[in-house]
Symmetry: C2
Subunit: 206 residues, 2 copies
DNA sequence: CACGTAGTAGAGCACACGCTCCACAACCGG
DNA sequence: CCGGTTGTGGAGCGTGTGCTCTACTACGTG
């Protein structure tokens, strides 16, 4: 009945990804996106509704891929009864992703989660973003529980440090540059182990 | 001879600082700056020449303060012949700054160095920024030399990790929130020690 | 009391942006 | 072959931006 699509929506996401990696979110404009993707302004808005939604969808596509991989490695280690190994696996996941799919890793490195979910993203994409948030939060709670039998905010924060903030600090620059040195992975492992050896933060008073 | 200033340039920098901390660089506009500082658009441009210059000058003011403090602590430790202590001191410097001058710490946390030196900053401020860069680079080389008798790029990078990237990952969020927990400092110390224990990266082939 | 100098004020220019709007194209059931 | 539905294209609107421009003000000097 209707006119068939002549552009795949993924073409827009691919172009957005390239522009984000090359020039950053601040320089991603509708006009640049239309030119790079070959899809007209009108079509972009017809299928996405706003530029923020394009960005969110591009990020979501890669973040899902990443969290899926990470989760499977973590679950395997947890099933093996080795929570420390699970944390180390999770921490190295960005480097593993960079080995297998550098484009995906580059995108995730060039865009922070907090800049993605704005008021202008379409409701359906926003819902999926929040679902991904929740799934990550659950994974972090699982790790904290397995390590220390605690899942309070402070314990989850310590796990987040190991699994999110330390890898970001140590790997993101090299992923951006396109190569992760083995020595950097060793440093990351050492740092994560050291933080785990510190133990969880003191239990908040109650 | 001329008309005397009725506004101190520092008033503009103060207002810029507040707006940067509260809303981030993306929301700092000339109009908001004029309103908050009470200085007119024309006067701002008369004394700074561009908005980027205001941002750069505000950042420079605080960065100098920070690097001065950091440097003195590091030099003391180096003079005492304890390079590891020097690195730990440098790594904890942002936390120390937050204790003494939370405003300064907040500004440095809200603005990355790489976003500061753009084409639009006035030449004199740009020169001072580059001088600060050079002084930081020299300090990092000194630390690498004292630790490992090496100052090649890879060794300097390892020191940078300890002194810049790890503290950023671990402290910046809490500085933004206004309080650095003791446990976080302990985690930072442990992580830095672990990275130092990894030793320098293998010498690049030559 | 002019005059030169340097600071102040704010109206408004030029531009880039996200987004809207609408004429049109491609398809299918009748 | 028509009408309904959905996708496409791009001109252009409204807005917010950094910055310019110019009239004006306050001072020291001759």
């Amino acid at each position: 009945m209707p006119r068939p699509r002549v552009h795949a929506p993924d073409a827009v996401l691919d172009a957005a990804e390239e522009l984000l990696v090359e020039h950053g979110r601040a320089h991603l404009t509708v006009r640049a996106l239309a030119q790079r993707s070959g899809v007209s302004n009108g079509s972009i808005y017809h299928s996405f509704g706003s530029l923020e939604t394009v960005v969110a969808a591009a990020w979501l596509r890669r973040a899902r891929e990443f969290l899926g991989r990470q989760r499977s490695g973590v679950d395997a280690a947890l099933a093996g009864g080795d929570p420390r190994r699970a944390v180390l696996t999770a921490a190295e996941a960005p480097a593993a992703l960079a080995d297998d799919d550098l484009r995906a890793a580059r995108l995730l490195v060039s865009l922070h989660r907090d800049d993605v979910l704005t008021d202008a993203v379409a409701p359906d994409v926003a819902v999926e973003l929040r679902a991904l948030d929740a799934s990550l939060a659950a994974a972090l709670r699982d790790l904290a529980g397995a390590l220390w039998d605690r899942a309070d905010a402070a314990a989850v924060d310590a796990v987040t440090l190991c699994v999110v903030r330390l890898p970001a600090a140590m790997l993101f620059g090299e992923i951006r540059a396109g190569i992760v040195r083995p020595h950097t992975r060793a440093q990351l492992t050492a740092a994560v182990e050291a933080v785990l050896d510190c133990g969880p933060p003191p239990v908040p008073q109650h």
